[in-house]
Symmetry: C2
Subunit: 490 residues, 2 copies
């Protein structure tokens, strides 16, 4: 860790920010306390100083000053991130973008909206709903999470299978570099010239710059949607059904799976009407014109029946469709009622490994003595095992973390990745040493240096140092190659 500024230097640092209105500065411990963690609340750190600018110019001023003073900066949106990407530093500035919360311009002709980073995800769709448009990425936290944070994490959601991640739904960015310089990146054109900085910055977890404006793409709301529910007697057959639907060339708007523990918890919580005896449940939604929806629903039903579904239901009416989704959407808090604490994982795997990976997780769940519920974006192969534990029981948190790490290594070993949509943050930084070879990590560091030579932006997150990987002692596993004896069956 760099030797950081000490508390007694704070006044000296603030003297250089005299141009910043006083109410943009939170210096007392009481004011700083609410910023000590993001959605990954197992990690906490009281920030040295919290700054809450109102304009892009104030962001430039702050970064210019941090740069010259050598003070590190952690940018924060709504703080809903699940990998600790906005965990503060005890010797750095926590830069909240919450007050840059205006929708600047809506261009209906080109279906684009220019928004500030602190605008809530759902607020964009609400603002354009009257014109039959919406902003497609829909992370579970969309009521609260902000567009800037969505860009930093390249957020997905239930519907990203068909409509893409954040990177596919934005057209341009304004970014402030650590030197306080403003870069305008991207264009609505199909292939903008120059290096694709728009994609490079999306998902860079606050390590390359601070986003002060985002131009998002708007889509026409689908005219119709049909939701098919299918129950299965085993997670394996549900997993195989997912592969069958995708292989048939169907692109569902969403294709979600819940295992027995998750669907029971959801049913207890919101009474969605799920079949309680199922080992696994699939929710498959298709959208488009009425004719298209009907044709696709027929094909999906046939495919699910062929894949061995024990029950298939079609939600034709909007209220039934909403009720079935309500269970899925409430599944995380519902599972949360089963134990004092849970740890949400976010690995991805090739879809055809779904059944076998879920069976392995189930076996490990018994081995570690911790229940695991599975609720996830099956169509994307994006797993979200929820490991239940009780932090007040000695050793349970450590066992949960060890099981989580093992699941991530399993994802890598079958050719997947350690994160699908939550980012690396502080949570999965050690697993990056397994995901990537040294040459690739070195290239990441070279990119970081091209934006932030002194390493002041969100240090310690997302990309591990080579020294850390050496200490962690893990060797890179090339996609699909095996390292663990227990994985040899894959």
């Amino acid at each position: 860790m760099r030797p950081g500024p000490q508390a007694r230097d704070r006044d000296a640092f603030l003297a250089g920010l005299a141009a910043l209105p006083e109410d943009c500065i939170l210096a007392s411990e009481e004011e700083r306390r609410p910023y000590e963690c993001d959605g990954l609340s197992a990690y906490r750190e009281l920030p040295w100083l919290v700054l809450l600018p109102r304009t892009g110019e104030q962001v430039q001023l702050i970064l210019r000053h941090c740069s010259s003073a050598g003070v590190a900066v952690v940018a924060r949106g709504a703080g809903t991130g699940l990998s600790g990407g906005a965990l503060p530093l005890d010797n750095g500035v926590l830069l909240s973008l919450a007050r840059l919360d205006r929708i600047l311009d809506i261009d209906y002709r080109n279906r684009l909206a220019r928004v500030q980073p602190g605008v809530r995800n759902l607020a964009v769709s609400e603002a354009v709903a009257g014109h039959g448009l919406y902003y497609a990425p829909d992370p579970s936290s969309q009521i609260a999470c902000s567009i800037g944070g969505n860009v930093a994490e390249n957020a997905g959601g239930v519907h990203c299978l068909k409509y893409g991640l954040t990177v596919h739904n934005i057209a341009a960015l304004k970014l402030v570099t650590i030197d306080g310089e403003l870069l305008e990146i991207g264009a609505p054109a199909p292939d903008a010239p120059g290096y694709d900085l728009l994609a490079l910055l999306t998902g860079s977890e606050g390590l390359l710059g601070v986003i002060v404006e985002v131009t998002v793409r708007l889509l026409p709301r689908p005219q119709h949607a049909g939701l098919v529910l299918a129950a299965f007697d085993s997670v394996e057959s549900a997993g195989d059904a997912v592969a069958a639907v995708i292989s048939a060339g169907i692109l569902p708007a969403g294709l979600e799976m819940m295992d027995h523990l998750a669907l029971q918890a959801a049913e207890d919580f919101v009474h969605a009407g799920y079949p309680l005896d199922a080992a696994a449940l699939l929710l498959c939604e298709v959208d488009g014109s009425r004719a298209e929806v009907e044709a696709q629903v027929d094909r999906v039903r046939r495919l699910l029946a062929d894949a061995g579904a024990s029950e298939i239901r079609l939600a034709r009416e909007e209220d039934e469709r909403q009720r079935l989704w309500a269970g899925r959407k409430a599944a995380f808090p519902a599972v949360g009622r089963l134990a004092p604490d849970y740890y949400c994982m976010d690995g991805t795997i090739p879809r055809h490994h779904l059944g076998r990976v879920l069976a392995t997780i189930d076996r490990w769940s018994h081995e570690y003595g911790l229940r695991v519920a599975n609720v996830f974006h099956a169509g994307d192969g994006n797993l979200h095992p929820l490991i239940l534990y009780d932090a007040n029981q000695a050793g349970e948190l450590e066992r949960a973390e060890a099981l989580g790490a093992r699941i991530l290594e399993l994802c890598i070993a079958v050719g997947g990745t350690i994160t699908g949509e939550h980012g690396v943050g502080v949570e999965k930084i050690d697993q990056m040493c397994s995901q990537f070879a040294e040459a690739e990590l070195r290239q990441f560091h070279a990119i970081k240096k091209a934006f932030d030579p002194d390493g002041l932006l969100n240090p310690g997150k997302a990309v591990p140092t080579l020294a850390r990987c050496a200490e962690f002692g893990r060797m890179h596993v090339h996609h699909g190659e095996l390292r663990f004896p227990e994985l040899e069956r894959f």
Copy 2:
């Protein structure tokens, strides 16, 4: 220009490549001559040395040697590029990837194919056609162009409106750095951890590394397609019709426009059956299931009629559809028969400016005394004005280039870009000074340095030096701000 190796040093340089089989080395002038230009044949340079490796390991060997000898390298695929991106250097190595031409693996379950960079674009679709799959990006040169070149230029095509550019249709890359190191980049997962190097490298025009393997995504071939032809009395009304179709939320598989000169030339050449009295022609294709196609065709016809089409035809049968497309596909060579030479531009503009920009180009065409035919991806707002000239008439080439540059500046001024799919190469490097501000260009150079600190990969292409921009004397125009008095009507 860096002081490069002289011809007399070639033997010394080759001595360091003793491990490379002799038939991989083309040193005589006669052997090097075919490589002096790519598809932009107005620019020619005899390469100092041509190397034709057969394996990725040989590429590593070559780059490692170039790096230590300080010799620059220009990578080349099939040489069909239209912006001079593979123009050789008289003091550098021309590295042809043509012999890395194997399809390594086809994974039908996950709909992925691993191919070497020299594999032709169309060969991928041909290899998987028996399984009802194809590779979506379809540049006009797809019979000849290679996947590696497609990645380097982020190639598009008629169907990229619906199916995306190359970057949206690849899952992973293997890249050799200038140091000869192999990087494995990307994964089939929805959001791979780490910086998005896959997107950064796609379209980087050979400036960051040499691609030795590409994992492409395969799509199920659409079951049905319907093609609607519409004739208009003015290019403005055709342009407005394009905006109307897209605004209505329809996503055509392709939406192409031809103006009067282009459609006449195409009709003379292939007898597609186009209405010869039309000022402009739209071809709008939709695809999907039969029900979906029929529903969309109805909506498209209504929208085009409302937009003032003077004639609307539906190609229901496959042979008529193919005939109508044949005219569009042959439009470039057809226009080529109208004059000894033509210069193909590639700007993009926001769709709602289509009509007015085409009218301005028409006015300038008279002013410069050069005919201009327009054949382009209207749905993307991606213009391809073809400026007709005769290089044997003194001053015509210069006038054509001046008119081309003016058209690109017009594209920038209305909020568009200087390239939609052909890349910057040597052709549009000066216009990059107008497209980007100094801070953005500096960031591009920092990225370049993070991959290639000595600037040995494809020097002089794609990203201008700041010195060059100062000499060129152009100021950056921020999107939509005006600089030319003649553009004030926009």
